[in-house]
Structure formats: structure tokens, C-alpha cells
């Protein structure tokens, strides 16, 4: 059984926000909201500066606090790919998951339910990559099965130095950033 994850090469990412635009278009994300976004972290002092750009979204954590805190079972881990999803019909918009998510990955859709990245499951089920991965002009994003040691994502994690966001939150996120 697959366990989907993402690997993003921060050395290649230029922060163009193409992933953000692609996601909004693909998933009809309402104005003023987004399911993925760009963060920039500047370290050092002029002239020795180091800028790390990260394309961020729901980390589809192995230990997802948004699922355990959900009172209705709307937030759940899907069997296929172990992806964290929200059942819109079960969601009552209580925002417990918004508070629980250490990554700020969720928002309340104007229609009243919690919304977030789905890893573009509707595309993945058709054999396509998520929209953000597909459009990236620098090809810095990779999507695949973390449980398959032969997959591209597994090989990248095995061979490159990498980090995850907020490891101390204990959520075991499944988006890995290469440095």
C-alpha cells in the first residue's frame, strides 16, 4: 500500500509561486485563500546571506493532529496513499483542525468546511502528478510513494541532505525539503 509524500529541492526553487497559481486553478480555490504557499527564510548578514525558499502545503503527516482532534470524523486518513483528507459533508466547520495544525495548512472554505491540500488525489488516481508538481518550471518538486525504496522520492531522501518543517511538533510530516 502506497504512502504518498513529496520531496522539494530548495536549491532549485526560485519562489515563482507557479505552484500556488496551479493549485488555485486546478482546485478552484476561492479568492483570498490558498492550499499551498511560499515561505522565505533569510539567514546571515550582508554580504553573507542565505535565502531558503520553501513551497509549503499540508504535510499529510503520519501522525496528524487534525485527524485526532476532529469531533465528527470528517478529517481522516484515506487508505489509498495514506493521504489526509476532509469529508466536506461531515465537516461542521468547528476549526479544531485549524488550531491543531502546526503548519497553518487549513482554512475554512466560504461554503463552511475546512479545506486544504489533497495532494491532488483526483489527478493522482488518474496517474498524473499533483498540479503543483506538474507545473514547476524548475522541476524542483517530486511526488511519489515513500514506502517504495525504489521510488524517486525515496531515493532522493536516501541520498540528499534534507529537513522537514517543525519536526519538534511530532507530527512526522511527509514533505521533505532538500538542502
Amino acid at each position: 500500500m502506497a504512502r504518498f509524500g513529496m520531496v522539494i529541492d530548495t536549491k532549485k526553487c526560485v519562489g515563482c509561486m507557479d505552484c500556488v497559481v496551479a493549485c488555485k486553478t486546478e482546485n478552484d480555490v476561492p479568492d483570498g485563500h490558498c492550499r499551498d504557499w511560499i515561505s522565505q527564510r533569510l539567514q546571515g548578514e550582508m554580504p553573507d546571506l542565505r535565502l531558503t525558499i520553501t513551497s509549503e502545503r499540508c504535510n499529510h503527516c503520519d501522525s496528524p493532529p487534525c485527524v485526532t482532534c476532529c469531533p465528527t470524523g470528517a478529517s481522516h486518513v484515506q487508505d489509498f496513499g495514506k493521504v489526509v483528507l476532509v469529508d466536506h459533508d461531515k465537516c461542521i466547520g468547528c476549526k479544531a483542525c485549524l488550531a491543531a495544525c502546526p503548519y497553518g495548512a487549513r482554512f475554512i472554505h466560504p461554503d463552511g468546511y475546512a479545506d486544504k491540500c489533497t495532494f491532488c488525489m483526483h489527478r493522482v488516481e488518474r496517474g498524473q502528478a499533483p498540479a503543483c508538481v506538474d507545473v514547476c518550471p524548475t522541476r524542483c518538486m517530486h511526488f511519489g510513494d515513500l514506502d517504495d525504496p525504489e521510488s524517486e522520492v525515496s531515493r532522493l531522501i536516501a541520498t540528499r541532505r534534507h529537513f522537514v518543517l517543525k519536526p519538534d511538533a511530532g507530527t512526522r510530516p511527509r514533505i521533505f525539503y532538500l538542502e
Binding site: M17, V21, M46
Partner: protein, 186 residues
């Protein structure tokens, strides 16, 4: 033609032919790092760095550049791109910001050496810029009220570029030769 819809002619080499030694239209027929043509024309045969003139004391060199989100000044009212970036910011060095009491998010105006004052623009106080320069992304500060979603957002760098420099060697235009002061409380 009717059957295929497309007929390809023989492909011409774009620059150089495979297997044929490349020749350049220079006196030596090679790429010249030391150019006798430039020397004969009265220029440095090997290009030399010339330090640009400093601005008046107390002013900042205005640098301009692009954001990957927007294309020139054409896309600022596109709803999706506007959501990603709806106004530009003027980058100010952190030490300068501390001296002026300026914080990221404060609105300022820029006044250039010829008295041109920009629209109000948000400051971004950052270590990512030198203390003698300020930087802003091109394409904002639209003046047409008809562009309802972007009118009044950010400031125009072009408006502040009342001067430009011309490279005596190849005629290129240098636009980062304007100097501004920061007017707070905009």
C-alpha cells in the same frame, strides 16, 4: 502537402555546423577576450569595472527588478496573480530602518533627485539589501482608475527614473542611476 499538412525544408544550422571548426567575425577568427577592435576604437580592450558615480549624501540608489509572479506591468489585475502579490514593496536595509524608526509594513513615499514623489508604497526592512540602496519590483503604481483592482496599489519605479545612463561601449541603458530619499508617514 495536402496529405501531411506540413512540409519541412532542409534544416539549416542555427549558428555552427557540426564537425566544421567555428569561425567568428573577428580579426583573429576566435572569441577574443582581448579585443583589438575595441582598442582601435579607443576603448579598453578588456572590459574594466568602472565604479558608478555616488549619489548626493543621504540618498539611496534606487534599484529595480522583477518578481517572478508578474510579467512587466501587464498582469497586476489578474485575480490569481493579484492574490499572490497585490502590491510591491520598497526594500530598506535593516540598519537604515532602525535609524529611521521604519518598520516592515509602514507606508512611505520616495522622492527622487528631481523632486518626483512616488505613490505610497509599503516598506520591507530586510538584511537582504545594502544600506546605500533601496529596491522595488517593477510593474506597480498603475495610474489608470479603470484598473480597479490594482489602481492605488504600490508605487511605480519607472516614475522615479527621470535619469538614465548610456553605456559608451555598446549603448545599453542603465536605469539604476536615480537616487531617492524616504518620506515617512505616507
Amino acid at each position: 502537402m495536402k496529405q501531411k499538412g506540413l512540409v519541412r525544408g532542409p534544416q539549416q544550422p542555427l549558428y555552427f555546423e557540426d564537425g566544421v571548426p567555428a569561425e567568428f567575425p573577428t580579426p583573429t577568427g576566435k572569441i577574443e577576450f582581448y579585443s583589438t577592435q575595441l582598442k582601435d576604437a579607443g576603448f579598453d580592450p578588456v572590459p574594466r569595472y568602472t565604479r558608478p558615480a555616488d549619489g548626493p549624501p543621504g540618498t539611496f540608489r534606487l534599484l529595480s527588478g522583477r518578481a517572478p509572479v508578474h510579467t512587466f506591468s501587464r498582469t497586476q489585475s489578474n485575480p490569481v496573480l493579484r492574490d499572490a502579490m497585490d502590491e510591491n514593496e520598497v526594500w530598506v536595509n535593516g540598519d537604515v530602518g532602525a535609524r529611521l524608526g521604519l518598520h516592515s509594513g509602514d507606508y512611505v513615499r520616495l522622492r527622487n533627485q528631481d523632486g518626483v514623489v512616488s505613490d505610497r508604497v509599503k516598506a520591507r526592512v530586510t538584511a537582504a539589501i545594502r544600506p546605500d540602496c533601496v529596491y522595488m519590483v517593477h510593474g506597480f503604481g498603475h495610474t489608470s482608475k479603470g484598473l480597479r483592482s490594482t489602481f492605488g496599489k504600490g508605487a511605480s519605479d519607472a516614475q522615479l527614473m527621470t535619469r538614465y545612463a548610456v553605456d559608451p561601449l555598446m549603448g545599453g541603458t542603465g536605469i539604476n542611476v536615480n537616487f531617492v530619499t524616504i518620506e515617512q508617514g505616507a
